[in-house]
Subunit: 159 residues, 3 copies
Amino acid sequence: RRGEMAKSTQLIDNEVFRAYATYTVIVLLKMMLMSLITAYFRITRKAFVNPEDTASFGKGDSAKKFLRTDPDVERARRGHLNDLENIVPFVGIGLLYALSGPELSTALLHFRIFAGARIFHTLAYLIPLPQPGRGLSWAVGYSVTFSMAYKVLKTALLL
Amino acid sequence: RRGEMAKSTQLIDNEVFRAYATYTVIVLLKMMLMSLITAYFRITRKAFVNPEDTASFGKGDSAKKFLRTDPDVERARRGHLNDLENIVPFVGIGLLYALSGPELSTALLHFRIFAGARIFHTLAYLIPLPQPGRGLSWAVGYSVTFSMAYKVLKTALLL
Amino acid sequence: RRGEMAKSTQLIDNEVFRAYATYTVIVLLKMMLMSLITAYFRITRKAFVNPEDTASFGKGDSAKKFLRTDPDVERARRGHLNDLENIVPFVGIGLLYALSGPELSTALLHFRIFAGARIFHTLAYLIPLPQPGRGLSWAVGYSVTFSMAYKVLKTALLL
């Protein structure tokens, strides 16, 4: 089994794959942070959606008034969903891209721009910054994923 | 490093893996297209959710009236969420399936049916087509992913 | 091609990778189950969102009354979205973790706790159990993913 074990860890020794691993963990942790931000706003704004979540505020009508939507909670939730919609394609296409043999410098350029764009997108959403700040950061991340998709199809296309 | 580099690109030389890469990129790009369709409906129907997105339409009440929901926008958003719910399992389980050593022809059959079903699902949702068109295309994609999951567990089960 | 084929299937022979494959399929199937639960509640509670989905109940106002939200449907949908938010990072970070050379026993501990926590989370959401049951199971799964992310960055960091 030792031989197989050694082989299976070779992928993580490859520099492009290490870069992919690093930036994938960064953007997924950033996405996970949105759960904490939503929870923070739910608790500080006292705005919940499940009756069982307000039980500690008392019974009946006194707890019921906390079953409501709040603009800050909804904003954090939209940012979270936008992350899912954009980070999922990055993680999936990025893995195939990292395995398609790009130059390390080119790969790092893609990964760094994507991570920077998504971190900016979250700030632009939560502060919020005036448009087109959020829109442009979304488009930059989108374009990076599209560029990686093109490289994967050029290298691997088998329909 | 050269040796490792060569080894890490072998995966993408494998035909089943190339087929997986091709169809994963196709369905993820299709999912990303939903963002553009939602944006198109938001702009043409003038239906936004963030106050900062309507600032270019003027100030105060003249901009506020564009903070509203629109049936076409909501329909595109539901299609996008349905993609997330179904394409994420395909990408994750499909990767493991591609590594579990299936015949190329069997793998291609799975990937092609899934991609076709999801493209049809989007058309059925957006046109919209009468049921059970959308429901059936959803079930076909779901069954393909289930079939791949069965093969992975049969090959790799280690609890 | 035979040599490459053999090499590409080695990953699935590695025990840590087999454990990752097993638990990833389990949690993704559990997530896919949420679609069936939502569909079950939509049909039994007669609560739909698309006009074309209610066409079989008759025409006009007689069908229109089934275009409504239902607490059980919404609860299942929230559980599904929570799965997406938490299982996507597990699948992505878990893959890199499995390739970073952890001990099999340590990896199994991570995967088992995550899968158990997410299955409990779904039960806590659907029954529903009083808090902090659901909150704690969410935090346990979140912590497992965070622990794997730490190991990946420690092994592979290349910024």
